[in-house]
């Protein structure tokens, strides 16, 4: 019995590098040998899907991309899935970025979905407005006068020469907003300065860490729903019936979470054994 207890005590004081090694293994293995666990969409994800599904054909949707390569595994699948859903339903998409890195991410998404998958025409089906510095001032600028803020698009073409920009002067000319966000400026700024004051519905895809901050806005009805991290992205992929990198990442995340729970349990067993022994002595 004491040998078993000693083993648990050793596990309790294990070098953190063993933990890192085990986590690396449990993340890599399911990526190479996928398990294919079923994805069950949550209500918040379904609400986002339903809201976009209900939009009349040809609706003007503003897609704001504000994440960097660091959170690409969480946010990029959301952006891809949303673009797929929007183009499938023949909506008109206007893409803007509040982060400079977001411009690169948005360009990759456009190349993959708009150009390669759906063969959409630039200037007719979608417009890439690009990044402007200013954080929340950009949001306020889009709300008050978009054309003052964006005189040219990301390819340096004049906005006035783009057919899809006819009639687009400010935020109220859009029918829906989706923000794929990883921090500041992002979802909260869109809610506070754009969506809530004007009443234009919005949804957002955020990293798992941000869900706490954003959920009060969802509960209050200021946002129709939220895609919560990679699980949210995987759920959306399941809803649009097109699996992507988020779905394949969920196996790895599932196993990693289970292993972390196991570590926590083992750590507590060791903690109790140590506590009992110190009480005895």
């Amino acid at each position: 019995m004491s040998k078993i207890q000693d083993t648990f005590l050793k596990i309790g004081s294990i070098d953190r590098r063993w933990i890192f090694l085990i986590i690396a293994a449990v993340v890599i293995v399911p990526l190479i040998f996928p398990v294919g666990l079923p994805i069950r969409p949550t209500d918040t994800t379904k609400n986002v899907y339903d809201s976009i599904e209900k939009l009349p054909a040809g609706s003007k949707v503003l897609l704001s991309v504000e994440y960097s390569p660091s959170t690409r595994p969480e946010n990029h699948p959301m952006t891809i899935s949303i673009l797929r859903h929007l183009f499938k339903n023949n909506h008109k998409v206007f893409i803007t970025c509040l982060w400079p890195d977001g411009q690169f991410m948005a360009q990759d998404a456009i190349n993959q979905v708009a150009k390669q998958e759906f063969n959409k025409t630039y200037g007719v089906d979608y417009v890439f407005l690009g990044f402007r510095p200013g954080n929340e001032a950009v949001v306020k600028g889009i709300v008050s006068n978009l054309r003052k803020l964006y005189t040219v698009d990301v390819y340096q073409k004049k906005i006035d020469e783009i057919p899809l920009m006819n009639g687009i002067n400010n935020f109220k000319d859009f029918d829906f907003l989706f923000s794929s966000s990883a921090g500041f400026p992002g979802t909260i700024e869109w809610v506070q300065y754009a969506s809530d004051p004007t009443g234009i519905p919005m949804a957002s895809g955020v990293t798992s860490i941000q869900v706490n901050e954003v959920m009060p806005y969802v509960q209050a009805g200021q946002m129709v729903g939220v895609l919560a991290g990679m699980p949210g992205a995987a759920e959306y992929e399941a809803l649009i019936n097109q699996k992507g990198s988020a779905t394949s990442g969920m196996d790895a995340q599932s196993v990693a979470h289970l292993v972390i729970v196991l570590f926590i349990i083992l750590g507590n067993v060791s903690f109790f054994i140590e506590r009992n022994r110190s009480k005895k002595y």
Partner: protein, 287 residues
């Protein structure tokens, strides 16, 4: 209640606004009047308590372990002959948390000047670098140790979030500071910084109002100032009456908010179920 000057000024402002309202309140968004009155009441509460403290009134502030630990951490660093690492967040001076972080840096700099401990402040924004330098310079001057101040103790690394985290981690692993303080606005890099600090055996004190990062700091750091405690830190460290009065004013406003929430719940429940009363959410919703 005895502050005649306060009541006089408040009365004059209220009277002027009343006149302005009666005259047709030009250029005013009418639907935002509730917010304007609320702001005026909150500001008055703060000012009343600030003046009360300035006139000698004493307030009890509950001890915050994290702030008591700041001096201990500086002392520990002095004994070990190792520097203190101070990270004022990764956002610019337009964020109130960053400004609060620079204020706390000023107090920490006073302690490092007093104990002759070296201070390393890597920053992520150029304007923060300038503000932090001024705060440190002033602190060292006040302590009578301008010779110990070196401009390069506050230095710029990079604007990029993870490049900054990598840079700070490198400083931690190479210089092995005895104390690491994280005071400001943080995002995902918070756990990277805190875990690296933990691995080098430094005492860690964090303070942030970034809601999502508080759990990470609580887990990995020895002491954490959560939300308002961080904003109250300048009052605790300086012990200036006007700042302590401000903290009390904040607490009074919070009590008023709690009472408003409770009353609103009762009124809304009555209104929704029986039709008695009014839709308080319309009154309190400001667009």
């Amino acid at each position: 209640m005895k502050d005649k000057q306060f009541w006089l000024v408040t009365g004059i402002i209220a009277f002027i606004f009343l006149l302005y309202w009666i005259m047709g309140h030009p250029y005013l968004y009418e639907d935002r009047i509730v917010m304007l009155i609320t702001m005026f009441l909150m500001g008055s509460t703060l000012m009343y308590n600030v003046r009360y403290a300035q006139m000698g009134g004493e307030f009890y502030l509950r001890p915050i372990p994290g702030l008591k630990a700041v001096e201990e951490a500086v002392g520990r660093s002095t004994e070990m002959g190792r520097p203190i690492l101070y990270v004022p967040g990764i956002q610019d001076m337009d964020q109130v948390e960053t400004v609060a972080g620079v204020i706390v840096l000023g107090h920490v700099a006073k302690m490092t000047a007093r104990y002759e401990t070296s201070l390393n402040v890597p920053v992520s924004r150029s304007i923060v670098m300038k503000a932090a330098r001024e705060a440190c310079r002033e602190s060292y001057m006040i302590e009578g140790r301008p010779d110990m101040f070196n401009e390069d103790m506050v230095h710029y690394l990079t604007d990029d979030q993870f490049a900054y985290a990598a840079g700070v981690n490198g400083i931690m692993v190479r210089e092995k500071p005895a104390a690491c303080m994280y005071m400001g606005k943080f995002y995902a890099e918070s756990l990277i910084l805190a875990e690296t600090g933990n691995s080098i055996g430094a005492i860690q004190i964090a303070g942030t109002a970034s809601q999502a990062q508080i759990p990470f700091f609580v887990t990995a750091c020895d002491y954490t100032l959560i939300g308002e405690e961080f904003f109250a830190a300048s009052a605790y460290l300086s012990k200036k009456p006007e700042l302590i009065g401000g903290v009390r004013g904040q607490d009074m406003i919070k009590a008023a908010v709690i009472v408003t929430i409770i009353f609103s719940i009762i009124i809304m429940t009555l209104y929704d179920n029986t039709g008695i009363g009014f839709d308080v959410s319309k009154l309190l919703t400001i667009r």
